[in-house]
């Protein structure tokens, strides 16, 4: 894995709400084709970091480069173009409640590429199936879906126009273990098939051990360490140790080892 292409490059990022500093001197690299897990305690600014990268929040200072472009300095049109190459799955799905699932998936297609309607419908059906939903889910409204199906529908919308980078904010939160494991597998499959780069915020230790290539730990207002799991586990920091060596961490680790062994 030499000379990996960096798709997201965050340098010296600073985020501040009033007097409260959330991020300071935060550096982070995300490489093409990897699944990066971002962990951190509640209130450590994981979602703020995500919002800063995708441009929903203008950081108080620092630099965000995505696909080689300085996101804070480029023009509106170029920026929109880069943004159209990102797919985002929000914590609660954020599906448009007045549109059916299929129409939700078609929104980005309609917006960025003027395709004929039948073709969009076929593509939407494809994405819905890729997202792991049954075909008849396309005609349903978000309010008719269960929590797990909402996540899958939101994923289908996020991959609607083949993004290069997929941002996921706690995709498995609130799913049952079977649904969460299936979602993990789905992400792995999609990453293989579509060559996605995935930026994944999670609290789910099983997800970290099952699918993440690298893990970034957000603590003390910056990225404390971003590396492969075995190295992160050994990192000398009380929070990191408590996180990975706690009972839940050890259980997830053991489970992952068992799966590898079989």
């Amino acid at each position: 894995m030499t000379a990996r292409e960096t798709v997201i490059e965050v340098r010296d990022l600073k985020n501040q709400f009033g007097a409260q500093v959330v991020h300071e001197h935060l550096d982070l690299d995300v490489y093409r084709g990897e699944i990066l897990g971002v962990v951190g305690g509640s209130g450590s600014g994981k979602s703020v970091l995500l919002r800063s990268i995708i441009g929903l929040r203008r950081p108080s200072g620092g630099q965000v480069r995505m696909l080689g472009e300085d996101m804070l300095r480029i023009g509106e049109a170029r920026r929109a173009e880069i943004e159209s190459r990102c797919g985002v799955l929000f914590q609660n799905g954020a599906l448009f409640s007045s549109l059916t699932v299929a129409e939700n998936v078609m929104v980005p297609m309609r917006e960025h590429h003027r395709l004929p309607a039948p073709m969009m419908q076929r593509l939407a059906a494809l994405k819905i199936t890729l997202g792991g939903l049954p075909t008849d889910a396309g005609a349903k409204f978000p309010s008719e879906l269960s929590g797990g199906m909402v996540k899958r529908a939101a994923l289908a919308r996020a991959i609607a126009i083949d993004p290069d980078i997929l941002f996921l904010d706690e995709p498995t939160a609130g799913l049952d273990p079977i649904g969460a494991a299936a979602f993990d597998q789905l992400l792995l499959t999609l990453r293989e098939a579509l060559g996605l780069t995935v930026f994944l915020i999670t609290h789910d230790l099983d997800t970290l051990y099952t699918i993440c290539d690298r893990v970034a730990v957000l603590s003390q207002k910056r990225v404390l360490v971003a590396d492969t799991l075995p190295r992160v586990e050994r990192y000398e920091d009380s929070w990191v140790q408590a996180y990975f060596q706690g009972p839940r961490g050890r259980a997830a680790m053991a489970a992952a080892r068992r799966t590898e062994a079989t």
Binding site: G68, I82, T100, H113, S143, D162, D164, L190, A193, L194
Partner: protein, 375 residues
């Protein structure tokens, strides 16, 4: 792999007649997909036999492009994809097969759908009415039960709602009725002048406000102000499972939430109605005094000769009825809320519409009733 879509190079698809294969080159990605689909359709129409596709020249491939490849030759007749593209192609062909095995349910349109929706709406009205009757019965039964259990009365909550629905509504109700009173007086004066009977404006204003306008306008105002608030309050509690929590704590939501609200309206609406009558008549009197030749003394004399007490009671008798209906509808719609914030909005709207509709309906029935019994 890292060029942006705008600068995607052209994609081509042509038939190599010598080798009997289709040759695909370039970027098979979303921006090019439209042209490629047309080209593929044309080629398929021209050559019925399925050819193999030589895809070695494809530089970039995404799901949209892969779907067209799949349409062109199926899942087994593609050569020359690199491993990553092949993985993508396999995933897409698998998913496409899967998604087309079970045809998607089409959203229904047309005359049949229109009939079905009309039927469903009528059915829904019937159910709503039935449910409202049941809920009114439940409220009455609960009132009867708690009447002799003073420790279950929610005094604080009751007083709070009297303040919210009564006291806080005084300015708007008074102003509204004052203005309508003035307007009615103007209208009356204009019409009656032709008959030389401007003086009857006094009767017109007094009669209409005591019997109808004050109570009706107040009820409509309260339905919009308090009925909707009841729905929103109870609805958001329902959405956050607070109603369920109340039940599991061994409390009765009707006692805790509904009774204080309905009883508060039963107190507040009649008081507001009295104020509304006064405001309306004062508004009318002001117009009479200022722009017609009716002195304040004359207005009061004629008003006294009217037998106003009877009309006052006709109007007032409707206030508690309206209050009860508005309260019951507001609370019931709140309980009908399901999960989402959107549902709270829908039911709040529905609560106001129903409450105003029922108010006017009952008012019309009451008018006929009082006319028949000669009051």
């Amino acid at each position: 792999m890292s060029t942006n879509p705008a600068s995607a190079s052209a994609a081509t698809l042509r038939r190599d007649d010598a080798a009997g294969t289709l040759v695909a080159t370039g970027d098979w990605t979303l921006p090019n997909v439209r042209g490629l689909a047309q080209r593929a359709a044309a080629l398929r129409a021209a050559h019925s036999a399925t050819d193999r596709v030589d895809a070695a020249g494809i530089e970039r491939l995404d799901t949209a492009g892969a779907q067209i490849l799949f349409d062109l030759a199926g899942s087994d007749a593609i050569d020359g994809l690199d491993p990553a593209q092949l993985a993508l192609f396999k995933a897409v062909s698998h998913a496409t097969t899967e998604s087309e095995r079970t045809p998607a349910a089409r959203p229904d349109v047309g005359v049949l759908a229109l009939l079905a929706r009309t039927g469903a709406a009528v059915d829904q009205i019937g159910r709503d009415a039935w449910q409202l009757l049941g809920f009114i019965g439940l409220i009455l039964a609960t009132i009867a039960r708690t009447l002799f259990q003073p420790w279950r009365w929610r005094i604080t909550s009751f007083v709070f709602h009297v303040e919210q629905t009564g006291l806080d509504a005084v300015p708007i109700v008074v102003l509204l009725n004052f203005l309508v009173g003035a307007v009615v007086a103007f209208l009356g004066a204009t019409v009656l002048k032709d008959f030389g009977a401007s003086i009857y404006t006094v009767e017109l204003v007094s009669y209409s406000f005591l019997r109808e306008f004050a109570v009706l306008l107040t009820a409509i105002m309260v339905a919009g102000r308090s009925g909707s608030a009841f729905t929103a309050q109870i609805g958001s509690m329902k959405a956050r499972e607070e109603i369920d929590a109340i039940r599991t704590l061994g409390l009765d939501p009707v006692v805790v939430l509904v009774l204080p609200r309905v009883l508060a309206l039963l107190i507040a609406l009649p008081i507001l109605t009295v104020l509304a009558m006064l405001a309306g008549i004062v508004g009318g009197a002001m117009v009479c005094v200022l722009s017609l030749d009716v002195s304040a003394t004359m207005f009061i004399t004629r008003f006294q000769a009217l037998g106003a007490t009877q009309h006052f009671w006709v109007g007032m008798s409707k206030a508690p009825l309206f209050a009860f209906l508005i309260g019951a509808i507001g609370c019931l719609e709140g309980f009908k809320v399901t999960g989402s914030a959107e549902s709270v909005g829908t039911h709040t709207t529905s609560s106001v519409v129903q409450a105003i509709f029922v108010t006017i309906l009952v008012d019309a029935l009451a008018a006929i009733f009082y006319m028949e019994i000669g009051l």
